[in-house]
């Protein structure tokens, strides 16, 4: 017999995978949040990003393009990108305000067609060693490392942020249930709890804790735009391409 999650966890634990998630079609869909151009990802600052996604692997897609990533000219790349490679690795790409780079890929992969938790933490600094990626609760090994960046990220010259695509394509195919950023490095215990419970809220980090930089509510119905949660920083998120929402599980 398969027990409901509420029975396993007890009635006091919320299932953060309940309800709808945004279904990106991999061709036309992305979300455009009006994130600030400066001060959002700083060299001195810390962060932890959590994504709960159910991807359809097979093509490289952008989970986040903060800045304007791409084009044939490398000098056109700006900001911070979290990329899901065709075979499931996470590729992290960062260019600071003086175009220095920090790049790496994970060795471990996400699984296709099932929910996956990705957590990326950053300590003070911009070198590759300041970032750690956890896939489904397990720290991933980095490969293909470039580690030159030292400065803040400033995208004021190329203001463009997208969730689920880069500025000129590479749209995400699959469902997105959580996109959370807190402004500190989550502890080992919090990473374990957030991975097991599918949200930083599942690690006891409440929306009104003051820790959140971004927390998006994807439990919507088709045609609506996602919103940021109450008690977290308010941003306008515009779903482009006709938003579709489906049950996550």
């Amino acid at each position: 017999m398969i027990l409901p999650l509420s029975a396993i966890w007890g009635g006091g634990v919320t299932d953060y995978r309940a309800g709808n998630a945004q279904r990106f079609d991999g061709v036309f869909d992305y979300d455009a949040p009006n994130l600030p151009s400066t001060g959002f990802f700083t060299a001195a600052g810390e962060f932890s990003i959590l994504l709960d996604i159910n991807p359809v692997l097979g093509a490289t897609s952008w989970l986040l393009d903060y800045g304007r990533w791409g084009g044939a000219a490398v000098s056109n790349q700006r900001g911070l990108s979290i990329v899901l490679l065709a075979t499931g690795e996470i590729a992290f790409r960062l260019r600071d305000e003086i175009l220095q780079r920090t790049y790496f890929d994970t060795v471990e992969t996400l699984n296709t067609g099932v929910p996956n938790i990705v957590i990326i933490t950053k300590t003070a600094g911009m070198a590759a060693g300041d970032f750690t990626v956890y896939i489904n609760g397990v720290e991933s090994t980095k490969t293909s490392i470039i580690s030159d960046a030292t400065n803040d990220i400033d995208i004021s010259s190329t203001p463009n942020s997208r969730i689920g695509a880069r500025y000129n394509g590479s749209e995400f195919d699959g469902k997105m249930k959580q996109f959370e950023i807190i402004d500190r490095v989550a502890t080992a215990g919090e990473i374990a709890d957030a991975s097991a419970n599918f949200s930083f809220r599942g690690a006891g980090i409440a929306h009104n804790s003051g820790d959140y930089q971004l927390a998006i509510d994807f439990d919507k119905v088709t045609g609506q735009d996602p919103t940021t949660y109450t008690d977290t920083p308010a941003y306008t998120i515009t779903g482009v391409g006709g938003t579709t929402f489906e049950t996550y599980l």
Binding site: G26, V27, T60, G70, V83, G169, S170, D173, V240, G242
Partner: protein, 101 residues
Amino acid sequence: MEYTYILAPHTAHNYAVVLQAVAGFPDLISNRQVGRATPKSALDVLDDESGLLVAESNEQYIYVKADTAELEQSGLLAYVQDYQLFNIDNQPKSTFWLNVQ
């Protein structure tokens, strides 16, 4: 709301009837939901992240994401030649570059 994806050769005729349908049914296709598509080839030139830089094929197609209910009301498909229909789960991503920039 449900969407239907239409792949059709990029001919003057098909382009004209899609334009006409969009003009007559403003809710048929939202912003950015019409793109060019081209067949994939092993000889395509790709960027570092496997995105398309230059397609080997010269064949051009139109790829449209249409509101299914509006599509039926518009009667567009009676006029589009040699089209194929897809849904969100079976799009021809393995054989075509869709929504080429």
